[in-house]
C-alpha cells in the first residue's frame, strides 16, 4: 500500500574505473538490479551499472566481485524515531 513511499533498503556505489566488467555481480544479485553499461570505461570495459532502485542491501554482489573496492553497499539506517516496528517490518513484508 505504501510501497512506493518506502525508500529502498539498500544502495549501491560502483567505481566504474575499478570495475572490469566480469559480470559476476550481475549473476549474483538476488533482485537483479545490476546490468552492464553500454558505455565503455577508460580501459575499454563495459562496467556494472546499478539500475538506481530495488537494492536490498544484502551485500552479495560485494562478496562476488573480484575487485576489492569496485562495489560499496549501503544500507538504510535504522531510525529509532518511535516506529521501530514500521522499519523492522520492511524485511518481513518482503518475505
Amino acid at each position: 500500500m505504501t510501497d512506493e513511499k518506502k525508500p529502498d533498503r539498500g544502495q549501491l556505489r560502483i567505481d566504474e574505473q575499478e570495475c572490469k566488467g566480469c559480470g559476476l555481480c550481475i549473476e549474483a544479485c538476488p533482485p537483479k538490479v545490476i546490468s552492464l553499461s553500454e558505455r565503455l570505461n577508460h580501459y575499454g570495459y563495459r562496467t556494472a551499472l546499478y539500475q538506481g532502485s530495488g537494492c536490498t542491501g544484502c551485500g552479495i554482489c560485494f562478496m562476488a566481485c573480484p575487485e576489492p573496492g569496485a562495489i560499496t553497499v549501503l544500507r538504510l539506517m535504522n531510525r529509532g524515531a518511535g516506529s521501530v516496528s514500521a522499519t523492522g517490518a520492511v524485511g518481513g513484508a518482503a518475505a
Binding site: G10, D15, K20, L24, P30, I60, C65, E67, P68, M77
Partner: protein, 488 residues
C-alpha cells in the same frame, strides 16, 4: 506515521581496511588489481582482508606471497609482506611465526605453487602443525605461465601440456591436497570451499575467517583450499567459469571439512616450542672459539670467472626482445660456447614489458642472471631508464631512439643511440629493428662466426621473406656499429 524525509544510508560493505586504498604498482593502474576480469584471487583477497579486519589483527599480520598470479600480495595487503621463492611460502611462514611469535602469518598460495614445487614444504609445515594459516587457491591449472597442467588438473582437462586432456595413465590423478594433509595428526583445521555460487562464496568467507581465528587462538595449522575460477586460461566467460567450479570441479574436489581438531586443542593447547637461541649464543653452542670466527664473508666470495659476453635486452612485448636474445644464444650454441637465455617478463597476462638475459662464455655459466651487463640493448626509453645504471663500466648501451637522454649518459659506458625502428622500417619492416640492433651487438662482441649466426637465423626464422630481410638487417646493424666507431 512514517517519516517521509530523505532516507539516510550507511556503508554496510566496502573495501577492507587491510587492503591499500591505492596499489603501488603501474602508474596507470593503481586503483585496480592486476587480476583478469572474473579472477577468483580478487574475491579471496577480499575475504582474507575482511577476516583480518574483523579479527583486528592487521598490525601484526604478515602475508607470505609465493610465485604465480598470487605473487603481488605485497601490492594489495596493508600488512607485513614477505615474498618467498616458488613453493616455499610455508617454510618462510614457519620462520616468521617462530621468530615473531606475536605475529599472525598467512601463507597465500596457488595450486601450481603449493601442490607441485611446494608439495614438500606444505606437507612438512602441516605435519609439524605450525601455527600458521594457509590459503590454498586451486584453479586446477598453471595460469600465470599460460595454462600448463598442474597436479590438480582434472582428468580429461585440456591444458597446454595435456592437449588431449589429462590422462591418468601418463599424468596421474588430480592431487587432493586437503584429503592428503588431513591424514596427518598435527593439522588443526582443513576445509575445502568453492567460489561456484553465492552460497559457496559465503561459506568460503566464513571458513577463511575461521582459519585465521584458529591461529589467533593458537590452535595450530589451518588450511583452506578454495576452488577458484580462472576465466582467462580456462577460456570461458567469468560467469561460465564460476559455474564450472560448482558443476565440474566440485565433482573431483568435494567441498567440506576434512579435519577439525579445534575443540580438542581448545581444551589442551598444543605444546609450546622452546625459543630459538640468540645469534651471539651460536658460537658457544657450536663450540667455536672467538678467534676462529671468520672476518666478514670476503674469503667466501667466489673468484670472478672470465666472461665473454653478458647481454641484457629490454623492450615492450612484441618488439622481438626475446627473439633477439634467442638468436644470440642459438648462435653461441652453434659456435660451441656455453650459453644461457633467460626470458623475464611480468606476471600479468596483460600490458607487459619484457626483457631477457643472455650469457655467452667459454666457461661453465654459474648463473643465467645478468645483473651487470657488458651490453645493454634498450628498445625504448623506459627500458633504458630501468637498466642503464646496471651496465658494467666499459660496456655498451645500444639504444633505439633519436636522442640518448642526457641524464642517462655515463662517462664509463659507450653508447650507440640510433632510430633503429625507423631504419628497419626504411628497409622494409619496422619489426626487423631487433635484428638491426643484434647486428650491432654481434659487431661489438666479435666472438661469433658468421656461419653460426646464419645457422641460428635459419633455425629460428621459418619464413624465407623474413630470413632475407633479417640478413640485411643484421648486416646493416654491423655497418652502423662500424660507422659509429669510426666517428668516435
Amino acid at each position: 506515521m512514517s517519516n517521509q524525509s530523505v532516507a539516510e544510508y550507511e556503508v554496510a560493505r566496502s573495501k577492507a581496511k587491510s587492503l591499500y586504498p591505492r596499489y603501488e604498482r603501474k602508474e596507470e593502474l593503481q586503483h585496480q588489481t592486476h587480476f583478469c576480469p572474473g579472477c577468483g584471487h580478487g574475491i579471496v583477497h577480499k575475504m582474507v582482508a575482511q577476516a583480518i579486519d574483523e579479527l583486528g589483527v592487521q598490525d601484526r599480520t604478515i602475508m607470505v606471497g609465493p610465485v604465480g598470479c598470487s605473487v603481488f600480495t605485497y601490492y594489495y595487503f596493508d600488512t607485513g609482506n614477505v615474498q618467498s621463492a616458488h613453493g616455499r611460502a610455508p617454510a618462510v611462514a614457519t620462520a616468521i611465526r617462530r621468530s615473531r611469535p606475536e605475529s599472525i602469518v598467512i601463507s597465500y598460495q596457488g595450486d601450481g605453487d603449493l601442490s607441485a614445487i611446494g608439495s614438500a614444504e606444505i606437507l612438512h609445515a602441516a605435519n609439524r602443525g605450525e601455527n600458521i594459516t594457509v590459503i590454498f587457491v586451486n584453479n586446477a591449472i598453471y595460469s600465470m605461465t599460460g595454462g600448463q597442467a598442474a597436479p590438480t588438473t582434472l582428468l580429461g582437462q585440456k591444458s597446454t601440456t595435456t592437449p588431449n586432456g589429462r590422462n591418468a595413465a601418463t599424468e596421474g590423478y588430480p592431487l587432493h591436497v586437503s584429503e592428503l594433509l588431513s591424514t596427518l595428526q598435527a593439522p588443526a583445521y582443513i576445509e575445502r570451499v568453492g567460489l561456484g555460487d553465492n552460497k559457496q562464496i559465503a561459506q568460503a568467507s566464513r571458513a577463511i575467517k575461521r582459519a585465521l581465528d584458529n591461529q589467533v587462538r593458537g590452535l595450530g595449522f589451518s588450511l583452506i583450499e578454495v576452488l577458484s575460477p580462472c576465466p582467462t586460461i580456462w577460456k570461458m566467460t567469468p560467469v561460465d567459469s564460476q559455474h564450472w567450479v560448482r558443476d565440474v570441479m566440485e565433482k573431483t574436489f568435494p567441498l567440506g571439512v576434512f579435519c577439525d581438531r579445534t575443540k580438542e586443542r581448545l581444551a589442551a593447547p598444543a605444546a609450546q616450542s622452546v625459543p630459538a637461541p640468540a645469534l651471539d649464543e651460536l658460537p658457544g653452542i657450536l663450540g667455536v672459539a672467538e678467534e676462529d670466527l671468520p672476518e666478514g664473508n670476503a674469503a667466501a666470495m667466489a673468484k670472478e670467472q672470465e666472461i665473454d659476453l653478458e647481454v641484457r635486452i629490454a623492450g615492450f612485448g612484441g618488439q622481438g626482445v626475446l627473439l633477439l636474445g634467442e638468436m644470440l644464444a642459438e648462435a653461441g650454441l652453434d659456435a660451441g660456447l656455453e650459453v644461457s637465455w633467460l626470458p623475464s617478463y611480468g606476471p600479468e597476462m596483460r600490458s607487459g614489458t619484457s626483457n631477457c638475459h643472455v650469457r655467452l662464455s667459454r666457461q661453465t655459466i654459474d648463473s643465467p642472471l645478468v645483473t651487470a651487463p657488458t651490453v645493454l640493448v634498450a628498445m625504448n626509453e623506459p627500458s633504458l631508464r630501468k637498466f642503464d645504471r646496471s651496465v658494467r663500466s666499459g660496456g655498451w648501451i645500444i639504444y633505439d631512439g633519436d636522442e640518448f637522454p642526457a641524464d642517462c649518459a655515463r662517462e664509463d659506458v659507450h653508447v650507440l643511440a640510433l632510430p633503429f625502428t625507423r631504419i628497419a622500417d626504411a628497409m622494409g619492416d619496422k619489426r626487423a629493428a631487433n635484428m638491426v640492433m643484434l647486428g650491432a651487438v654481434l659487431e661489438r662482441s666479435g666472438v661469433l662466426p658468421q656461419a653460426s649466426i646464419d645457422a641460428a637465423l635459419r633455425r629460428l626464422i621459418k619464413n624465407p621473406r623474413w630470413v632475407e630481410l633479417d640478413e640485411r638487417a643484421l648486416a646493416r646493424g654491423r655497418e652502423l656499429f662500424k660507422e659509429a666507431l669510426a666517428e668516435a
